[in-house]
Point group: C2
DNA sequence: TGTTTATATTGCAATATTACGATTAATGAC
DNA sequence: GTCATTAATCGTAATATTGCAATATAAACA
């Protein structure tokens, strides 16, 4: 079908999956990594850097923005994007909340 | 097009994106969380627990297994799945490697 | 051997994602 | 005002994902 049965799952499960989906494309990882290095950048920088079309970069930026990972401010004729620190920490905690649930209970399973 | 231009990106970027994709579905999050609680389970347990068809659960389990997050051992007529501790830590480090790159350089951007 | 039980695989329909050309909108320079 | 620059949006084609019924496979046991 191609449609996810979100109603079967908890809000937390859907939220974590939605955030993971944003990370689930190398272009978006590359954009994030570029922002981590450069602090901020504009669409045109990323077109140069990644080698994807302007429309495609714009689309990826929108998804990152929708999720709240990045924010953009209009600066003259261009838009300056950067990482949203509050949301970044929030997402980090979301993943760590999952990762930390695992304790190595040796040989309890396969 | 629907096809990701993986050749434009580094191995690390593609690897992280691929792992994130596995987390990018609530059913797979739910399976992981169930395994964190129960230590191990079989396909049939998850069909009961999640309310998805057996074939669908099997498909999600395969993706989790392909990524290495879980492993399955044949136990009589059924297959017992559990989390792969080594891969788990590896993936945790993969994400933390990204998250830790961010330091709050206040007011340097938007 | 045949039957039961549990899971994997196949095939398919519905929907989502990715990518980009073309167009639109909005700002700054003149 | 016009023109250039930058980014967002629209439309569309190609591919991927999700979900399940049907079928295949494989182990345990009578």
């Amino acid at each position: 079908m191609g449609i996810t049965k979100t109603d079967l799952f908890s809000t937390d499960q859907n939220e974590l999956a939605a955030v993971a989906k944003v990370f689930a494309h190398p272009a978006r990882i590359a954009i994030i990594q570029h922002l981590l290095k450069a602090n901020s950048c504009i669409n045109g920088d990323l077109v140069q850097e990644l080698g994807l079309a302007q429309a495609t970069i714009s689309q990826h930026l929108r998804e990152l923005k929708n999720c709240g990972i990045i924010q953009g401010t209009i600066e003259g004729v261009s838009v300056s994007y950067c990482i949203n620190p509050i949301r970044w920490t929030e997402i980090q905690n979301l993943f760590n909340g999952l990762f930390d649930q695992f304790e190595n209970k040796e040989n309890q399973c396969c």
